[in-house]
Subunit: 205 residues, 3 copies
């Protein structure tokens, strides 16, 4: 359904933006594909490892690897025009973030975990791919210092969880969660909403 | 009991020092909390993943996430005076290291693993959180080049394991292991005991 | 048999080259040993975690940790002459890569996974150790930008998988896969065969 479609859009967009990040580090085509796989599928993989939820999504459905790898190679082909796609990318990535969060909450809820773990699982699914991408690119993860991203995931997860607790129909709750999370992320991008920074410059060592 | 109390003290202190590390990289409040969670709970998490010991500690007891996140945010509030707390931090961190090591050995022993794996499991629990923190902060892990830290964990583990093999009562062995490991770490800090360095400057490539 | 012997040679060589990498970063002896363990055993460990294949190799057979740690310490002792061993190292590492790939395919095949996952598992086993080494050394993974390495692993895996599908005897297929993969890697080193690079210098952010 809706969520599945957005999931596929989301991993495709994550793969494509990871490919551009790989290109900025002059990686070869293989590196581009691997970085795309790690970024697009790493969040769900980390969640499943932490929650002992096997087999992993891409082990059950290995065509995901082909889709993600294909999206990465396609990005190389269209790299010349990629900078014009900044906003479409950001919008689809925002949609993907919301979908990943909902899917992550679902996995934890089906396993009967505590609400805190449910929200955490949604957030992990949404942000870990990008963290792994930044670690492999030798950067401090962007998600720790830029516009609201993880917060969007947490808010989406809370809306989704509470909606289901209220007994609303699942499809409706999914749509509500998207209608809350997506505009929140877009607003954060447009108005550059950020969490307050913690700046500490005394060295203890 | 004693070990549980020290465990809570240990994760709190690890969370607080991770928060300061996050502040040095100007992360936002969210990044501070995540870095604290990874640092304080990452060692036990890595151990449990490697030993297939599910559910993870913080999945079973999600309030750990709140404690660690709360300690991180509290650190932001007291950042102004944090540099005066260097020695209390180091002492409590040393205590935490010893407790983590003992707990890690316990997990591996209960699963019936080989003594080498038992000691290794204790060490993993003690040092992996700090390694993950350094990777996310884009540093070479401190534990690979500074004062005796992993060694303290290994010595603690050996004392603990051998004590139990000798049939001494568990509580006594815990206390002995703490009385060996804690002063060893403190002495390493005071006297700057280090492992010999391996310096290799010929490039093979 | 043959594969087991090459496996032991492979982890020894990976441990030794990781030790030299640690020496270039002036790590202490403990860091050298840990980096060697992560590099030599990290590929198989990552594969087993992703495929839920427990207990891990080194948990079942902890002497692997001793062999790898011993090889790392031995490297410190012979560091003075290590630069003369560049080619033996590269050749044995190539042999190890091929063996790791075959072993990785076997693990996935025994669990009944899809051919894509089988090849992927072989590649993970071959390359992940080096990726973890580079992350801990604070480098962008070499395998993303240097001479054909992962490709050798993939080709080896395909030859191995197809050979078994054709019903050839396992020992023969192992030898064929080695006779394809090993010369391919050596040729890549000698003739500096590389994947095309993706260079992208427009910044989207």
């Amino acid at each position: 359904m809706l969520l599945t479609v957005i999931f596929y859009v989301g991993i495709t967009v994550e793969a494509m933006s990871a490919a551009l990040a790989a290109g900025r580090r002059k990686m070869d085509w293989f590196g581009v594909v691997i970085l795309a796989c790690v970024t697009a599928l790493g969040g769900g993989t980390m969640r499943d490892i932490l929650l002992d939820h096997y087999p992993l999504t891409w082990v059950r459905n290995p065509y995901l690897l082909m889709i993600v790898g294909g999206a990465a190679l396609f990005t190389i082909a269209i790299a010349r025009v990629a900078h014009r796609l900044r906003w479409p990318f950001l919008l689809l990535d925002a949609l993907g973030l919301v979908a990943f969060s909902i899917i992550g909450c679902n996995v934890a809820m089906e396993a009967g975990h505590h609400p805190i773990v449910v929200i955490f699982s949604g957030m992990l699914t949404g942000i870990t791919g990008g963290i792994l991408r930044d670690v492999l690119c030798n950067d401090i993860p962007l998600v720790f210092s830029s516009e609201l991203y993880a917060t969007v995931s947490i808010v989406t997860g809370i809306v989704y969880y509470v909606g289901l607790q209220w007994g609303l129909p699942t499809d409706l709750v999914v749509i509500i969660a998207i209608l809350v999370g997506f505009p929140l992320r877009v607003a954060a991008l447009v108005f550059k909403w950020e969490m307050p920074k913690f700046v500490y410059d005394k060295d203890m060592r």
